[in-house]
Symmetry: C2
Subunit: 199 residues, 2 copies
Amino acid sequence: MTDSKPAAGASARPSRGGKRERLASAAARVFHQQGVERTTLSDIATAADVPLGNVYYYFKTKDQLVGAAIGSHLDGLRAATGELDRLPAPADRLKALIGGWIDQRETAARFGCPFGTLATELDKREDGLDRAAAEVMRALITWVEGQFEQMGRGADAHDLAIAFVAAYQGMAVLTNVLRDPEVMSVQGRRLADWVDTLA
Amino acid sequence: MTDSKPAAGASARPSRGGKRERLASAAARVFHQQGVERTTLSDIATAADVPLGNVYYYFKTKDQLVGAAIGSHLDGLRAATGELDRLPAPADRLKALIGGWIDQRETAARFGCPFGTLATELDKREDGLDRAAAEVMRALITWVEGQFEQMGRGADAHDLAIAFVAAYQGMAVLTNVLRDPEVMSVQGRRLADWVDTLA
DNA sequence: GTCTATACGGCGATAGAC
DNA sequence: GTCTATCGCCGTATAGAC
């Protein structure tokens, strides 16, 4: 009854076995591949290996599942930047981030940026979900901004961070639309070179 | 009976009054604001001021309406580049294009790039619609590439064109997600400055 | 060619047995 | 806490009168 493992997620509902989180990450994955609107709860249940009817025990509505998927992306972002923070030089952290994006180029070619495409889809709506997505994007921008500050660009760190993230989102869109992973490789190298000019 | 005005669209079905084209451009507009999946045929019929049942006389399926919306975007692109081609200097044409995007910043803040968000949404699907969208994107890239060639960058004109369009798509995504038109202004100026360094 | 009424299917959500 | 059966709505698409 008294439960254990609240888990390190954005939300902290208990429930042993991590079924809730399995659903959340499955939702994030399937939403990425199919889009939110074309994904049925049945799709997610299948992907998470949870019986359909049981989904409603953990998430009362589909929108709550979307919210959980956003939280899942935030967790992933925190984990990734946490790793990058172990590198000594901020410019290297940014370039390692780009390297990670390039490594994911095949996925990006087929489905786009996992978070960017989700945020874009949610932005067509009026409910609070779009704002939740904006927070995650802002978290990334803030982290990048911190790197530029450490590189001695205190004055325009914010605009540089926007430019950096925008560059990634843009190359992800074209990689996806053109179905060409090479776009990510070439443009990613371009972005890395730009970081070097600022170091 | 014998009909007139095939109209200058991508497709060329007749039918007086331009009802078909009114439906196509209404579709493009509503798809932009609501996304394809959340838009019903009733929404489009209302926007075009055409009775719902009558829509099926012009478009047998919703997908055909999506195709027509893509065609509508292509028409708009051709019209825009046609205007820009009247400017003497290629660098000025690119900067004028950016200026147009900045002028649309309020719309971009609310709904994103009219074509980029559509292409992104269609890319989650497997039917041919995504490829049709890719063609429009490619048409823009090709036109931009031509400008860079005229600026004497024959060697890397293609990569520069990809970078240019990606920069726009990226700033559009962030403008939209952050709901901040200023992002488009600031980053648009950045992009224009970059064009100047290549001129 | 125009428009209304309606069939059909799918999906989100609920009831309730276990 | 788990799972099945099912309801009710909504959106695409069609039939067919005008």
